[in-house]
Point group: C2
Chain length 472, copies 2
C-alpha cells in the first residue's frame, strides 16, 4: 500500500521524499497551463504542485478540472524545476472525489479573488478553505496548545469549572439564563420546577471555583468558554468567548504580575517560532490589503518580547496622565481624577504615546472600581488589582491578589451587595487554612486577535456569537 502524507510533511521533509511514490489528497486551489494543479490540504499555508502526465487518464481529468474540487493523487516526488518550490509531485494516478460546479463556485468565497471579511463570515462553513482563515485557525491552535504546555510545564493543573451556574452576582456583566421550562404552558413562572430546581445562568468566569481548587491543588488554570449577554456590537466583543484563568495559592500580587508577563511572552515567542509560515503570510496580507507598514505584524510581536513590561501604580498613572494633559496640552474627553475608571483614550495614550508601545502593568486600583474579591491594601482605598495593557487592543489581562481574610471579605461582600447565601462556599474557603493567593484572566480570542492583527474579533473564532447572531 502506498503511504499517505500531508502536504506539510512532504514539503517539510522534501529531500527525504525525492523519487518516492506517495499518496496525497486535497482541494484544488488553481490549475495552470493545463498541466500544474496547485493542491492544498489544510495542513499548511503552502500548496503542493502536481504535474500532470500526458497519459490518457490525466488528459480526461484535465478537461474536467474545476477550482475547489477534491482529488486523490498518487505520484512520484521530484525536485522542482520551478523556483517557487523545492519539490513537486509527478502524477501517476488521479482520482476525483467531487468536481465543483463552476456556477456554484462563483457565488462562493472559494472563487479565487479578494473577498471581504464580512462575506467570509456569511459563509462561515466554507471559510476554513480560504488562505486567510485557515492561517488564523492554525495560529489559534498553536496559541491554545502552548498555553496548555506552559501551564503543564510549570506545575499547574487544568481545571474544568462549571458552565452552568446558579450565581448571578459576580458583577462581571449581564448573564444568559438557562431553562428547560415551556413558558407557554407555565403561566405562573415557578423556577423550582426548572431543570436545576432554581434559576441558572451561563458562567461569566470560572475564577471563584478556580480559587477553591487552588486552595487545595496549589496551582490551577481554567481554559473554557464564558458568556456575556451585553448588547455590545463592537469589533472587540463576543457574547461567547474562551478565557484562561490561572489561580495560584501562596502567590502575592508581585508573583502574579511576573507570572502574567512571563506567560504572555512565552505564548508570543512560541507562536512566532511555531507558526512562522502562517505569520509571514498574514504579515504580507496585512501589508497588501490593510496598508500596514512593512513587517508590521512581526515587529509588533517582537516589541512585546524585547523589553520588560512597564509597571506603575494606578496613582502614578493618574499623575502621569494629569501632568501630560497640562504639559502637552492634550485634552482627554474624560477628565483625569483619582478614583475614575481608565477609559480607552487614557489607556491608548499611556501605552502608545507615553510608553512607546511597550505593554504596561497598572496595579493598586481604587477599590470602588474593582470587584469585591480583590485584596484590600492597608490604605483602605486601593486593592491589589493589576491590569495589563497592550498596544492596539488595550486591556488583555486583568487580575489581582484575592482577599484571603474572612472578616474583610465578608464585609466587602456585604458592602457590594453580593448574595452570601449563594456564595457561602467561596467565603467558607477562608475558614480552612486561608492563604494569600492570586490569579488573572486572559481573553483567549482577544489574544488571538492581537497576534494575528485582525481588526475584528469575529474573524479569529470559527462561529462567532454576537447580539442577534447565532447562525450556523
Amino acid at each position: 500500500m502506498i503511504k499517505k502524507y500531508s502536504i506539510k510533511e512532504l514539503l517539510n521533509k522534501g529531500k527525504f521524499f525525492i523519487n518516492k511514490k506517495v499518496l496525497v489528497e486535497g482541494w484544488i486551489r488553481s490549475f495552470r497551463y493545463s498541466i500544474f494543479i496547485i493542491l492544498n490540504d489544510g495542513s499548511t499555508i503552502q500548496n503542493l504542485q502536481i504535474v500532470l502526465s500526458k497519459n490518457k487518464l490525466d488528459k480526461t481529468i484535465m478537461k474536467k478540472i474545476t477550482i475547489g474540487s477534491s482529488i486523490r493523487v498518487i505520484g512520484i516526488v521530484k525536485k522542482s524545476v520551478g523556483k517557487k518550490q523545492y519539490i513537486e509531485l509527478q502524477s501517476l494516478k488521479i482520482n476525483i472525489y467531487e468536481l465543483v460546479n463552476s456556477d456554484i463556485l462563483q457565488k462562493s468565497i472559494l472563487q479565487p479573488k479578494k473577498h471581504s471579511f464580512e462575506k467570509l463570515r456569511e459563509q462561515a462553513h466554507l471559510r476554513f478553505r480560504t488562505n486567510i482563515f485557515s492561517c488564523i485557525m492554525r495560529i489559534r491552535h498553536h496559541i491554545a496548545f502552548c498555553i496548555h504546555k506552559y501551564f503543564h510545564e510549570h506545575g499547574f493543573f487544568y481545571l474544568h469549572t462549571p458552565i452552568i451556574t446558579t450565581s448571578n452576582c459576580e458583577g462581571s456583566g449581564k448573564m444568559f439564563q438557562i431553562t428547560t421550562m415551556d413558558f407557554k404552558k407555565n403561566k405562573l413562572i415557578d423556577y423550582t420546577k426548572d431543570f436545576f430546581k432554581c434559576k441558572t445562568y451561563l458562567s461569566v468566569s470560572g475564577q471563584l471555583e478556580a480559587e477553591t481548587a487552588s486552595l487545595g491543588l496549589g496551582k490551577v488554570y481554567t481554559f473554557g468558554p464564558v458568556f456575556r449577554a451585553e448588547d455590545s456590537n463592537t469589533s472587540r466583543h463576543l457574547s461567547e468567548f474562551w478565557m484562561i484563568e490561572p489561580e495560584i495559592a501562596f502567590y502575592h500580587l508581585e508573583e502574579n504580575i511576573n507570572l502574567a508577563e512571563n506567560f504572555v511572552k512565552f505564548v508570543i515567542q512560541y507562536t512566532i517560532e511555531n507558526s512562522t509560515e502562517d505569520l509571514i503570510f498574514l504579515n504580507q496580507y496585512l501589508e497588501k490589503w490593510n496598508k500596514k507598514k512593512k513587517n508590521y505584524l512581526l515587529e509588533k510581536l517582537e516589541l512585546i518580547l524585547k523589553f520588560p513590561f512597564k509597571k506603575i501604580s494606578y496613582t502614578e498613572t493618574i499623575k502621569i496622565l494629569d501632568q501630560e494633559e497640562k504639559k502637552k496640552n492634550i485634552k482627554f474627553s474624560h477628565p483625569i481624577t483619582w478614583g475614575m475608571d481608565l477609559q480607552s483614550e487614557h489607556e491608548q495614550y499611556l501605552v502608545d504615546k507615553y510608553f512607546k508601545k511597550i505593554p504596561v502593568i497598572i496595579f493598586d486600583y481604587p477599590c470602588n472600581i474593582k470587584a469585591f474579591y480583590m485584596r484590600m491594601n492597608n490604605d483602605g482605598k486601593t486593592v491589589r488589582a493589576m491590569d495589563i495593557l497592550f498596544p492596539e487592543i488595550g486591556e488583555i489581562i486583568g487580575g489581582s491578589q484575592r482577599e484571603e481574610r474572612y472578616d474583610i471579605l465578608l464585609q466587602r461582600m456585604k458592602d457590594t451587595n453580593i448574595d452570601i447565601n449563594k456564595l457561602w462556599w467561596y467565603l467558607d474557603t477562608r475558614r480552612f487554612g486561608s492563604v494569600p493567593h492570586s490569579g488573572f484572566g486572559l481573553g483567549f480570542d482577544r489574544l488571538v486577535q492581537f497576534i494575528t492583527g485582525m481588526n475584528n474579533i469575529r474573524d479569529v473564532i470559527p462561529f462567532p456569537r454576537t447580539p442577534k447572531n447565532a447562525d450556523f
Copy 2:
C-alpha cells in the same frame, strides 16, 4: 531571598537539595509526637515531613497547631532518618497563615478520617484538599494534557465549536434553552425579541461544525463542554460534561477505527507513566475501601494496552449473542434480533464474558438506530458507524464515517425530519469538493471515570451538574 519550592520538586529531586535552605508552603495534614508536621501543598499526593526545632518560636507554634492550618516554613533539607521518606525539612522559621478552628474542622471533610463520597460532594469547595479528590484532579489534568499533546503531535488543529446554537435537531438528546427574556413581562412570547433574535440552545455536540472545519483544515479536534437536559440520575451521566471530537478529512471508517484505538491506548499509557504515584494511591484506596482485588486498577488499565481491540460488525455481534443465548442457556431480558439497539446487558456480556475484558469495536450498525449523518453502506440497511465498548463502563467512543454524498445526505435528512433550513450549511459543504471523512466522540469525564476506577462520575469533575443540582 530564599527560593520557594513545591513539595513535588523537593521530593522528586531530594538528593540535590540536601543541606540547602528552602521555603515551602502548604496545609498541615497531621502533627505527630509534638515534633513532626506533615505538610501537603497539592502538587503531589506525597507529603513533606517538617521537623520542628526546639527553639522558642517553634515551641509556641507547637501548642497552637491544628490540622488543616496553612503555614510557611523556611528550613534546611536533611536526609530523613525515618524509612517512609528520603528527605525531611529541619525547620528554621515557621509562619502561620491561618489556624483552623478545631470545631469547624470536625464538621468538615478535612477532619482526618474516612468520609463518604456523598459527603465530599456536599463540601465540593473543600474536597480539593482531600487525598482522594486531589489525586483524581491531578490525573484528570494529565489525561486532558496528553489528549492535546496527542492531537497536536499528529497534525490536528484544536477547534472551538460554538456552545450556543440555534439548531435543536441533531437528535442527540434533550437540550437546554438559553434566553435573556423576562418571561414575566413578555406574556406573548416572541423569540425574535430574544438576545439572538431566535430560540437558542446549549450545544449537545460540536461534530457538525467540526466536520466543516475538517473539510478545510484536514484534521481537527474539539475538546469542550456539551450539555444534555435529560432527567437521568445515574452514576454515569452528567448534564454538563466535556467531550473530545476529532474529525478527519479523507478518512474512511477503518482509519477512524485505527485512530480511535491508537489514541485511547496512548492516553492510558501516558497516564500510567505520568500519574504513577496518584494511580498507585487510588489502587490502594480501591483495594482498601471498595474491596477490589489486589492491583485491580493498574491491571485493568494494562489489559487495555495488551491486546489489539476486537473488531466485529454489528451483524456478527448479533450472531454471537444469539448463539451464546442458545448454547449457554443465557437469558437476556431484551431478546436478540437484528435491528435492535444493543443494551447494557448485551454489551457487558460481549466485552466482559465473551471477549474476556478486551475492548470491542462494533461497526456497520443498522441505519435505523443511528444518526442521519452516518455514511450509508451499499446494502442500504447499515451505516458506517462504530462504537468502542470498554469493560465496566460500556460504550466509551462512538463514531462513524460521515455521509459525504449530497443527494444521499439530503434524502437521509428528509427521512429523519432534520430541519434543512437550519442545517443548510452542513449540507452545503457537500457541494464544494466533498470528500470521504470520519470522526468520533469521546466523553472525557467517562474516560476519567474509567481510568480512576470511580463508581460515580460526579466524583471525577470539580462541580458536577445533574438534574436538580447546580449548587456551588
